[in-house]
Symmetry: C2
Subunit: 164 residues, 2 copies
DNA sequence: GTTAACTTGTTACTGTATAACATGCAAGGT
DNA sequence: ACCTTGCATGTTATACAGTAACAAGTTAAC
């Protein structure tokens, strides 16, 4: 993969350039509040994800980090990405082996991801109603739920229109 | 990973040895009905997944296939596994990079997977109620839903008791 | 019995992720 | 200020996961 643009806008309300700044400062505030260290690599990694407006593979992120003078080996990217994921600033999209910035870092939300098969865009959707249904299924199995990954595949609205 | 036993029982009602046979013959009937060819490698692959009573990595499956005289190269395992997944006889667990036999191959169900963090067992839970909730979230985004992956992480009932 | 479609097998390779260790930086204690 | 302790970064090397492309054998249909 060279410069794999798994692009696409995460959601309407933060596709403008200004909101990159907004989310970045939210992240900074959040890190301060929780005593986390949003170091240069970590901050830059988040910025890269936000700039991509979609999902990026770890090696794509690494390429950009290296171009900025950070380390050029996989662990550099994986560590920063895992940090962001662990603290809710980014999400891992397993179906794509990729990562995407969290659109709403401030609230602890359960998110579902809508992955377009045509343009590979990733949209983060509120999954508040899915939680209880999943909880019920877990209860029935005597399973204690910690967290869940919900990834849907289909066609985004833009691609449906283009195809019509 | 050498002989990584991502073991654990899929669900109470098919953890007996006899049901391996039962599911296998269900699969055979189903293949016949749909005009699919459940060839030796494919059948054996399904059997391997059923014997494992849980999720197995592709390379674990490959090892066992090779031991049985089938090809020893990755595509052999991946092709058989993908065939099973494509036809609903197995599921791919993305969080584990692994595969597991479908517990209920006959009905076209939406399944959620409950992955135990302690013993790595994978339970297939009915997710019928989750579908509508997800559909609603997709609708709100103007997204046309095709299929979805739902993977939950937590503690299975057996491990909770053991820890208590 | 020949063709066309599919299945299996192979080699070779690309992509994804982590282990283990060395170095460096930062915050708190004395 | 100085040291210590823990965390962050960077490196090398390697493990693990998945696929492309082609050759050979099988099956089913005509």
């Amino acid at each position: 993969m060279t410069e794999t643009a798994l692009s696409g806008f995460c959601c309407a309300d933060h596709s403008g350039a200004s909101s990159v700044e907004a989310i970045l400062s939210q992240a900074e505030a959040l890190a301060k509040a929780r005593g986390l260290r949003l170091t240069p690599v970590r901050r830059r990694t988040l910025e890269i994800l936000l700039d991509a407006h979609g999902a990026l593979g770890a090696y794509d992120v690494l390429e950009r980090l290296a171009a900025d003078g950070f380390g050029a080996q996989p662990p550099v990217a994986y560590r920063a990405l895992n940090f962001l994921v662990d603290h809710g600033l980014a999400h891992r999209i397993r179906r794509l082996n990729a990562f995407t910035a969290c659109a709403h870092p401030q609230h602890d939300h359960r998110a579902a991801f809508l992955i377009c098969e045509t343009c590979a865009s990733v949209t983060e959707a509120a999954a508040d109603e899915i939680g209880p249904a999943l909880q019920k299924a877990a209860d029935a199995a005597g399973f204690t739920l910690d967290r869940a990954t919900i990834e849907a595949v289909g066609q985004c609205s833009a691609c449906q229109e283009a195809r019509a």
